[in-house]
Each structure stands twice: as structure tokens, then as C-alpha cells.
């Protein structure tokens, strides 16, 4: 069965430092891949997505993610974190087949220290 693993439950990063959030997936074929962010008390917002082509994808708010097929990974990065980036981040995968749904990881909570 397909699954998504986010190995880090909680990460603390200093403001201005770089960030990498890890995501590994288990899937029979190359899935669609997503990163969502949820700020406290807010709904989920799509940061970026990968379907095909260039394995480095750019998203909103200065985030990027790299798809590595050999490692079944889709890690999220940001070169310089801002205090407003403190939130919970979810990696998700979906089959390319119609009529299926997103499967989410358990999330990584990001704290930003000053």
C-alpha cells in the first residue's frame, strides 16, 4: 500500500538559517507529490507540487522541493527561514490514476527561533 513518511516530527531552525524537511514515499509507480503548509488555526495551503519533468520544483513563499526517484524522496527546502514560516508541513502523494485521493504524511512541525 502507498504510504508517506515524514521522519521528523518537530524541527527548530533559527531565523535566517536554511531548512530541509524530509519526505519519503512508498508507491508502486511515480506518484504525484505535494507539500502543504498549515499555519496555526488555519486550513491547509498548497506550497508546491511535482507531476513530471524538472525534478526541482519551485513553490510559493520561497520554498522548493526536489524529487529523487532513486531515494523515493521529495524533500522541501528553503534557503532562509522567516519567523512566519513556523507552521506544520505535510507531504502528500497521489496516484496518477483518476478516482484516487491524496495520502498525507503525519506532518512536521517547524519552530523558528530568533
Amino acid at each position: 500500500a502507498q504510504s508517506v513518511t515524514q521522519p521528523d516530527i518537530h524541527i527548530t531552525v533559527s531565523e535566517g538559517a536554511s531548512l530541509e524537511l524530509r519526505c519519503n514515499y512508498s508507491y508502486g509507480a511515480t506518484p504525484y507529490l505535494f507539500w502543504y503548509v498549515q499555519s496555526p488555526g488555519q486550513g491547509l495551503q498548497l506550497l508546491l507540487k511535482y507531476f513530471s519533468g524538472d525534478t526541482l520544483v519551485q513553490g510559493i513563499k520561497g520554498f522548493e522541493a526536489e524529487f529523487k526517484r532513486s531515494q523515493s524522496s521529495f524533500n522541501l527546502r528553503k534557503p532562509s527561514v522567516h519567523w512566519s514560516d513556523a507552521a506544520e508541513y505535510f507531504c502528500a502523494v497521489s496516484s496518477r490514476q483518476a478516482g484516487t485521493a491524496l495520502i498525507f504524511g503525519k506532518g512536521t512541525t517547524l519552530s523558528v527561533s530568533s
Binding site: Q6, I9, Y32, F34, Q42, G43, L44, Q45, L46, K49, F51, F90, S94, A98, G99, T100, A101, L102, I103, F104, G105, K106, G107
Partner: protein
Amino acid sequence: DVKVTQSSRYLVKRTGEKVFLECVQDMDHENMFWYRQDPGLGLRLIYFSYDVKMKEKGDIPEGYSVSREKKERFSLILESASTNQTSMYLCASSGDGALSGYTFGSGTRLTVV
């Protein structure tokens, strides 16, 4: 601005009650989804629907049912609420499978006492 609207932000219900959570989208999307979100467990799929009157079970459908009589509305029903159904419930919709990503509602925090 396109929206997914969940009718209640907070709900408190008693054990054994039948509970209806409503979700409406104004984007003419074919696909709609119900997830529950619990700390440390992420989002877990309860049910989804890819067409009117169609429904598919997700990973945790037990104790829940759904109704989709109109394209814009997808209701989640707790047949007999229990305390372990206390959770945040999130509704989402998408127009072309996952290609455009999902649009999420703000969630309903349900407490069953």
C-alpha cells in the same frame, strides 16, 4: 475567491447523537474529500466522492457515512457519535483529480462528550 465552506467551525455533541458535518464548494469540482486530523497522526482519509451520488471509502470509514446529492455539497455523517471521534474534520475539493491540488476548508473541530 474560490472557496470550500464548512458549515461549523466548532461543534460539541453528545455521545450517541447523529452528527452531520456539511461542506460546500463553489468551484464546480467533481471530487470532494473528508479527512480527519489528529495530533501526531496527520490527515487520514475518511471518504471521498468523484461524482454526484458516488462515494469511496478511505482509510478510516468505520463509524462514518457520507452523502453527495448535489455536486457542490458533500456531507459527513457520524451515525452515533463516540468520544474517539473527537477531532478536527477537514473537507477538500479538486477539479481534475490531484493535478491542481486540493482546496481545503477551514475545518470543523468536533468535540464529543
